[in-house]
């Protein structure tokens, strides 16, 4: 799995490869994103390439959040498509993530003190 990343200031923007993150792809995702998460305390996950997310994929995103928090950092999500957002709301986790409309907003949030 190849992650495209962009550095913006101290923040690391990780573009999640699409089109879907499900029970099939999430084990590999979880394994390979670990080093990237650990490489920064300001993580932005760009989800714009993702048009399907299931509970396993959501679990993987939650793992990223916990890992960043454990590292003393912050994580924000951006570029979320409507139906991916539906899942977040369905299982009520939209409240524990910083979900931003744009990449810039997300960078600002993870950079804030």
């Amino acid at each position: 799995m190849i992650f495209e990343t962009v550095n913006s200031g101290d923040a690391l923007i990780i573009r999640i490869p699409g089109p879907s993150l499900d029970a099939h792809t999430s084990p590999e995702f979880k394994e390979e994103i670990k080093p990237l998460i650990d490489s920064s305390t300001q993580i932005v996950l760009d989800m714009s390439g993702l048009n399907f997310l299931d509970s396993s994929g959501l679990g993987a995103i939650l793992t990223c959040l916990r890992r960043t928090t454990a590292n003393g950092g912050k994580l924000a999500l951006c570029g979320m498509q409507k139906q991916v957002r539906m899942l977040f709301e369905l299982v009520r986790v939209h409240t524990i993530f910083k979900i931003c409309a744009t990449e810039d907003e997300a960078i600002a949030i993870v950079a804030s003190a």
Partner: protein
């Protein structure tokens, strides 16, 4: 907003019906409170009411959630009522926000009571009277959901059923009270005069069997009712005559016994036959009912018979005396016999003796005849010079004693050295040899012959030769004994006769004696008492001219007595008598004729009874019975028979239902277990017994099914499934079985769940008639039969369902035993075979035509269109014509790996858009998500991540619903049993099932026997799920 019409709330009929329910101002009842609690819970409303509306106020028969003052008064004035609009418009009233409704925003219910949202359905009786509204309300604005309103409407039906029941019950109580009053008044008459009451219909089937009949005949009423009377109580020898008489009467109307009082014989359950006095009456509304009043007259009869028998015996004795025994001891006969014996055997000496018993029960012999030298010394020694009639031999230690004790013949050809000879005879030099033979009468040793001194000695052959002779001896001895008993019996009989005449003289019966011209010659005390006229006043007066004789009968009577030549008065007749004070008495008479020496009738002795009270009572009972039957018929038509919908879930239905006048308690019903998956339930039942009780039990059991289903839906919906038929049966059994057992009744029924989506029919057959199933694929007709016992046989039972596959074109036929037990003129049943034969030729017919054909065929078979039992026949054909379309189904198998997820998502998306849609993308996404999660669970849990397995995805589209079936062969894994996930992000798993439940309306898991898991999920497609205009009928928005 309905426009209030000014009349309907004041409608007299409506108010009268409302009053008749007895519910206005009645105490709160658990039944109604349960329904309002249920409504409040299901609709998540703070208040629910069973509101009965008269012309001044609304009264709450059931209520929950009202403020304290209203909860206490349980009523409001009509001005504060929304429910009145439901009554006036005859339509549901649904209000989401009264403040936005131009007509309701100023209504007192809103402004004073604060009612904001309201949903009410009319409580409509079967007579189409609207008594009130079953409603929920909220203090804040609400959007009532269509599926909530569906349930509210269903619950309203339960309220209506309850009200109908209370109406029916009240009426029955009124009748019962009246009839009890009658019964009490004439209790003495009914118990003393007429004991058994048995009613039958035209076919002889028992309808009524009273407690006295139970006691007399030894059958329980529950057993007897429904049986043929002729088989129960008519002795076999008279059955043919009984049936012929009945048939003749039904054809010609000529009765020999109807309306008369006669004596016949009847048979008890134990087979014994006894005499009865029988009175038979007939009532012909609405069907012919025959009622027999019977009284066991064994006592009376046997006394009379004893006199007859004994006089015959006396004659026989006289004959016997003259022929056999001319003197008291029978000496001549015995001496003749002994002479024959000696000459036949060539013996020198001999005797014939009788066996008697001493007081110590020791047998001894008493001679009836004795002769010969061998006994001479002995005889002379004992008898001396005077001739005695007999000699007793009591010694047990000689030949005679040995024979007496063993009962076996004794031969001794050398008595001197024979140890059995004993001292006495051993010393008797004159006995050379000896033969002793005891003889029997029946099994009793009654006597013995002894002989001695035959030149050639004795042998066994001689004993055989003498057998006929010995039999004669036995008979003679017995005859002698019988004569002695006879003397004692005659003495007893004489005493009895005296006793009987004493009874007769003081009898309470009316006794009237007329001479051959009809003139009164005697008029007993009872007649005087009843009429108030004295014997002196009426004797010497022609009977038709007596003051007690009714004026209207006088002319006929006069004519009869003056013109009569050979026509004697009828043996039995009834007549009204009028007493001095003008009261009328119905009297029943039995006439016997006393003939003069010329053989012509000299006197007519009439014995009678006053049967006025008894007849009045009979009439009252018949009326009460008739009314009960009418009420039962009403209940049946209103509560028991639900007309099936023409098409239900892809099944076209057909039904023929005819209630017989007797009401057998047949019923049918359809149930919808919560709209969860595409299935429906059908119930056909038959209560044992007839009349109002059976009908009420039927209605009660229907109500119990409704209640059980409602309750179970609430329990099982937590687990995302519908209640199973066996759960429903168990719940009903729990409530009904003790009741049924108590009432000595039971219900046969068949509970069917049609599951077109799964191509499955599940039956719980509790002793009902066998269901008939046509399998279109193989073109064969088969019977479906379960093996559960009828409801009410056992208190606890485990119900075993029977599941069969059904396919397009299949027919399922349910029927009551009124179909198969229809009887033709030869008394033969139409039978299962007849039914099967009829339908086999009709597999092409639409269900309604099929059931019509069954009815017509049965009518032809019985020769009448009047059904004698309830006739119920319901057919279902699996057609999928409207609600279910076969092209809207797709099935595909995928490898059970995570690799397949993407492909499955595409499969689901395409199906939804092409076959169901076009749908809003979000809706499709939710369904895709749910399937995705369910597949993930199967791969992960059912197969434990192992390779090489498959999962089948089947999608079906109904008119307003999409159903997904996921089949796998893995470990049984019920995802519906998993707890809710953790939402605070502490865990990253466990969301799967939660997501499925959020995305779908119903989830249902089953594990089949052959190792198959089936997860069914369905989602309703609502108008807002569709792309395009809202095609929903505007029903709910007012």
């Amino acid at each position: 907003m309905p426009v209030p019409s000014d009349s309907s709330i004041n409608d007299i009929e409506r108010l009268r019906t409302l009053q008749a329910t007895g519910l206005m101002d009645s105490a709160a009842s658990e039944t109604y409170d349960r329904l309002v609690r249920l409504a409040a819970k299901i609709l998540d409303a703070p208040v629910a009411l069973v509101s009965l509306v008269d012309n001044e106020r609304q009264f709450f028969k059931g209520c929950i959630g009202l403020p304290l003052d209203l909860a206490r008064s349980r009523q409001t004035p009509i001005r504060q009522s929304f429910c009145r609009y439901v009554v006036e418009s005859s339509k549901p009233l649904i209000v989401n926000d009264a403040s936005l409704d131009p007509l309701l925003k100023d209504h007192p219910a809103h402004t004073e009571l604060g009612v904001c949202a309201y949903a009410g359905f009319p409580i409509r009786t079967t007579d189409n009277e609207i008594l009130g509204s079953f409603c929920v309300l909220d203090w804040k604005p609400r959007k009532w959901l269509p599926e909530q309103l569906d349930i509210l409407e269903d619950l309203t039906q339960s309220v209506i059923t309850e009200i109908e029941l209370s109406l029916a019950l009240r009426e029955i109580r009124v009748v019962a009270a009246e009839s009890m009053l009658n019964e009490a008044r004439t209790h003495a008459v009914i118990t003393s005069a007429l004991d058994c009451i048995i009613s039958t219909d035209e076919s002889g089937t028992v309808l009524e069997f009273n407690p006295a009949a139970e006691a007399t005949f030894g059958y329980k009423a529950s057993y007897a009712i429904g049986k043929q009377m002729v088989d129960l109580i008519v002795p076999p020898a008279f059955r043919a005559a009984h049936l012929a008489g009945m048939e003749r009467y039904l054809k010609s109307g000529k009765a020999h016994i109807i309306g008369n009082r006669i004596e016949i014989v009847a048979q008890k359950a134990d087979g014994s036959i006894f005499p009865v006095e029988l009175a038979l009456t007939e009532l012909e509304i609405p069907v012919r009912i025959f009622t027999a009043y019977m009284r066991d007259i064994t006592e009376r009869k046997s006394a009379a018979e004893e006199i007859n028998r004994s006089s015959a015996m006396l004659q026989a004795i006289q004959k016997a005396q003259s022929q056999f025994i001319l003197d008291l001891t029978g000496a001549t006969a015995f001496e003749g016999l002994l002479a024959s014996l000696l000459s036949m055997t060539g013996s020198e000496s001999g005797f014939v003796a009788e066996v008697l018993h001493s007081e110590q029960r020791t047998p001894y012999l008493r001679t009836r005849a004795i002769a010969g030298e061998a006994w001479d010394d002995l005889c002379h020694g004992i008898l001396g010079d005077g001739r005695q009639e007999y000699i007793d031999f009591g010694n047990q230690d000689n030949f005679l004693g040995a024979a007496l004790n063993s009962g076996a013949p004794i031969i001794s050809n050398d008595p001197k050295s024979d140890p059995r000879s004993g001292a006495h005879y051993g010393a008797q030099p004159k006995i050379e040899n000896f033969l002793g033979i005891p003889f029997m009468h029946g099994t009793e040793m009654v006597g013995m012959v002894g002989m001695a001194n035959r030149p050639d000695g004795y042998n066994v052959g001689l004993i055989d030769y003498l057998q006929p002779f010995l039999t004669t001896c036995g008979n003679l001895i017995s005859a002698q004994r019988v004569r002695e008993q006879r003397t004692a019996f005659e003495e007893r009989l004489r005493i009895e006769r005296d006793f009987k005449s004493a009874i007769f003289d003081t009898a309470t019966a009316l006794v009237l004696v007329l001479d051959s011209n009809g003139t009164v010659v005697d008029f007993n005390r009872s007649c005087e008492k009843m009429t108030g006229f004295t014997r002196e006043e009426v004797t010497g007066v022609p009977v038709w001219a007596t003051p007690f004789y009714p004026k209207e009968d006088r002319e006929a009577s006069h004519k009869y007595w003056t013109e009569r030549t050979t026509n004697w008065p009828p043996a039995v007749h009834e007549r009204w008598w009028i007493s001095r004070n003008g009261s009328r008495h119905l009297t029943a008479w039995n006439t016997s004729i006393i003939r003069g020496e010329d053989g012509k009738p000299a006197f007519f002795v009439r014995c009678g009874l006053d049967i006025t009270e008894q007849r009045r009572n009979e009439q009252a009972l018949l009326q009460a019975r008739h009314r009960e039957i009418e009420i039962g018929a009403q209940i049946q038509q209103t509560l028991l028979m639900t007309k099936p919908p023409e098409v239900i879930a892809g099944f076209r239905t057909g039904a023929v239902m005819h209630a017989s006048q007797k009401i057998d308690g047949d019923y049918i019903e359809f149930f919808n277990c919560g709209n969860q998956l595409l299935h429906f339930d059908f119930l056909i039942g038959d209560v044992m017994g007839k009349g109002a009780t059976a009908a009420l039990l039927g209605a009660a059991s229907k109500g119990q099914f409704q209640r059980a289903i409602r309750r179970l839906i609430i329990q099982t919906s937590e687990f995302g499934r519908a209640p199973e038929p066996e759960e429903i049966l168990a719940a009903v059994q729990q409530v009904m079985a003790p009741e049924l057992i108590h009432l000595d009744s039971f219900i046969t029924l068949n509970y069917a769940r049609f599951h077109p989506g799964k191509r499955m029919l599940t039956l719980i057959d509790c002793g009902h008639t066998r269901t008939i199933h046509y399998r279109a694929q193989t073109e064969e007709w088969v019977y479906l039969q379960g093996n559960n016992l009828p409801l009410g046989v056992l208190e606890h039972e485990t119900f075993v369902p029977l599941s069969v596959p059904i396919n397009i074109g299949d027919i399922v036929l349910f029927y009551s035993d009124g179909v198969t037990e229809a009887v033709n003129s030869d008394g033969e049943f139409f039978g299962e075979e007849g039914l099967m034969h009829t339908v086999q030729a009709a597999s092409h017919m639409p269900p309604q035509e099929l059931t019509n054909l069954v009815f017509e065929t049965v009518c032809e078979y019985t020769g009448t269109r009047q059904v004698s039992d309830d006739f119920t026949c319901v057919a279902f054909r699996f057609e999928q014509d409207t609600s279910y379309i076969s092209e809207h189904r797709a099935a595909r198998e995928f490898p059970a790996t995570m690799d397949s997820l993407e492909e499955i998502r595409i499969f689901v998306t395409e199906f939804c858009q092409k076959e169901v849609g076009p749908l809003v993308e979000d809706t499709v996404h939710l369904m895709v998500l749910a399937v995705n999660e369910a597949i993930t669970n199967i791969v992960r849990h059912a197969y434990g991540g192992r390779d090489g397995y498959h999962v089948q995805v089947i999608i079906e589209a109904a008119a307003d619903e999409v159903i997904f079936y996921l089949h796998d062969g893995g470990l049984p894994f019920d995802p519906t049993g998993i707890p809710e996930p953790d939402f605070d992000g502490g865990k990253d798993g466990g969301f799967g099932l939660f997501i499925i439940q959020q995305c779908m309306d119903a989830v249902y898991y089953e594990h089949y026997d052959l190792g198959k898991n089936c997860l069914s999920m369905s989602r309703k497609i609502r108008p807002e799920d569709r792309v395009g205009p809202d095609r929903r009928p505007a029903v709910y928005d007012i």
